[in-house]
Symmetry: C2
Subunit: 370 residues, 2 copies
DNA sequence: CGACGTTCCTACAACGTTGCACACTAGCTG
DNA sequence: CAGCTAGTGTGCAACGTTGTAGGAACGTCG
């Protein structure tokens, strides 16, 4: 049925291995021979059988990207960027949706599909620092996000505290004094919520503003609906505010909805800023100011680190110990994108970049394998 | 290095084939033997090597979903639904982004990655009816969308004309008389734009309204930005309108932005309805009315048809001709979701389903193989 | 002139799994 | 008792590719 190297070899009058050599770009082949093989390949419509090649080479050419849900725009845009970056390097991406459930996130690290790909870029949302041992795995792994630090893996994250601090300060610099926060996770010590909330408090302090508990709105899941609910609760409770820092853009857009429903003008009465700078932010009414955490750079760096790790893996061999590269932590630059919702620009004007946070790379020594 | 069936067999004191039988759920195995094998598997942490299995079975357990871009919410949500549906059936999805370019769409049908998966769910945007021969392929294929009809493949599409007609009629039923259209593709005879525009004209006619060229706004790409531009152009030109039918939600949200920038009240001055019913629609300000084309059903049906086709493929054998099932065209039910932007409901109220279009399945005889 | 290097090509043996054929035991049927 | 069928397990030969080792032809150099 399917055309194999054998068929090509026969037609071209060479050995099967020569066909393999041609396909793989082995240099020592006479031009004429190469030509003959290539003609035979075209004539027969031959394609290499990936399964066979994968079996033989112990590589699949696939990497996994595990994210909570594609229908969340942040992760859809991240997936887009990761796929593009991998594609440019000749790799293919397989996406796993975890729904942010512990069970599925655990399965990503050890489950059925683990052996389908050569490496994993993982943005956990349910697993946390208590699950650190789960992250001690024997395959290339790059972590994203803020749930787990200190795992034996490369890590691409963002400058949450500094960026949140800058966002808060930005609102303060506009003369706002009652700055609410939407999306807090009470009691949590890790994760984006905790870090960004810490940045918010730092920002208040730096601006000489008091911290007021009633200004903090809880929202477990960071969806538009929960943002709208949290904002509504706060407004219904009669809390006085003149600015809102939402911990992501979905929350911010939900909050915007609630503000509008309460006939509150943005940015006239209340200035609003989000986090993530998803595509939607540009097109809400009014256009949403946000923090760009450097998504493209995150995706690009994650793919780069993972492929490096995959490449290095091959060297182990009889050497046993080898000398694995130390784990790196990379923090891309983030910046604040001022749009209408903070009154930084009028409708129609291009957005203004208000402030810049420098990131960087930190090298962490490899911990002894367990 | 890696644990193989051989190791498991040795430890359990059975043949390698028995391990294989246990792993694959072969029924005729003594409970005690099965237990012993399973214990050995757990002890050694054995996982089947997918590459080897794939080579042997000529199956990969993967299907491809090819869409233009994940950062377009409609496709992100579609991908989410397809992945979930495939997952439920034990299959894994590989996503290809085509950027709606001819080159990449052609590659999806014949390129490097073609042999990586067992089947393809393809939503073309660049290829059209002139490329019908490209779609005559020798692997399971399910088409989505409205670009290509009559290809030798199963097809899941939507009731574009009827749904657009209903949306237009709905605006008319609210007393609107100057109903603009945003997103037209002048001169095109195929694709969503042409079909939905046809439905719009049918709707106008059914409502006894005249068709007016100045009410039709072009927008090549259906992004928020192009929607905003098209809307702005029309308003700047002084065209009088009291309703807008945007051919998808991204355009509608962009148009909403432009309407707001022109200080036009929605739905007071202008009623607005989109198409696709993406998640965002619920949370815009005001909440956007839209046409739900039955996205979940589309994803579900597409996966179902593809897996059926993949299953049937195996039977070919020496039989030669076989008797392939005829190609099916499935049209899920679509419905209009009325929200604030058409004044169907006030802020906070749940949305109202205004009208329902019945879809169905049509069976097309298989064309002779080429 | 023999040793050695380049260039070009090939044979063989895996990679880890599953399909197929078959062996053997028990119980049952005609 | 021969001949089934159901139940339980094994051995062999692929699936299509690539790594390793090496052979043959042709210089080139000391």
């Amino acid at each position: 049925m399917a055309v194999t190297m054998h068929d090509v070899a026969q037609r071209a009058g060479v050995s099967i291995k020569t066909v393999s050599n041609v396909v793989n770009g082995y240099p020592y082949i006479r031009a004429e021979t190469k030509q003959r093989v290539e003609t035979a390949i075209d004539d027969l419509g031959y394609r290499v059988n990936m399964s066979a090649r994968n079996l033989r080479t112990r590589r699949t050419g696939l990497i996994t990207l595990a994210v909570p849900e594609l229908s969340l725009p942040y992760f859809a845009e991240l997936a887009d960027a990761v796929i593009s970056a991998a594609d440019a390097a000749g790799w293919t991406v397989l996406i796993e949706q975890t729904s942010a459930s512990r069970e599925r996130e655990t399965e990503v690290l050890s489950g059925r599909r683990r052996h389908l790909t050569d490496g994993l870029i993982f943005s956990p949302l349910a697993l946390g620092p208590d699950d650190l041992d789960l992250f001690t795995v024997d395959f290339p792994l790059v972590l994203l996000g803020e749930r787990v630090f200190g795992a034996p893996a490369d890590h691409v994250t963002m400058n949450n505290v500094a960026a949140a601090r800058a966002a808060t300060l930005h609102l303060a610099s506009l003369g706002r004094r009652r700055i609410a926060l939407i999306g807090a996770h009470e009691g949590e010590r890790v994760g984006s919520a905790a870090l960004r909330t810490a940045g918010y408090r730092e920002g208040l302090e730096a601006a000489g503003l008091p911290f007021a508990p009633e200004l903090v709105g809880e929202a477990g899941l960071w969806h538009r609906s929960t943002g709208a609910e949290a904002m509504s609760r706060m407004l219904d409770d009669g809390v006085e505010i003149d600015a809102v820092f939402a911990l992501n853009d979905a929350l911010a857009l939900g909050a915007l909805h609630a503000l509008h429903a309460h006939r509150i003008d943005v940015p006239g009465d209340v200035a609003l800023i989000g986090f993530d700078d998803v595509d939607d932010a540009k097109f809400s009414v009014p256009a949403l100011s946000s923090v760009d955490p450097g998504r493209d750079q995150i995706a690009h760096t994650a793919v780069e680190l993972l492929l490096e790790r995959i490449g290095a893996t091959g060297q182990g061999g009889a050497n046993g110990a080898g000398d694995p590269a130390p784990f790196r932590k990379v923090v891309p630059d983030s910046r604040i994108v001022g749009r209408e919702s903070t009154g930084d620009v009028g409708a129609g004007e291009p957005c203004r970049l208000v402030s810049t946070q420098a990131g960087g790379t930190e090298v962490v020594p490899v911990r002894a394998a367990v």
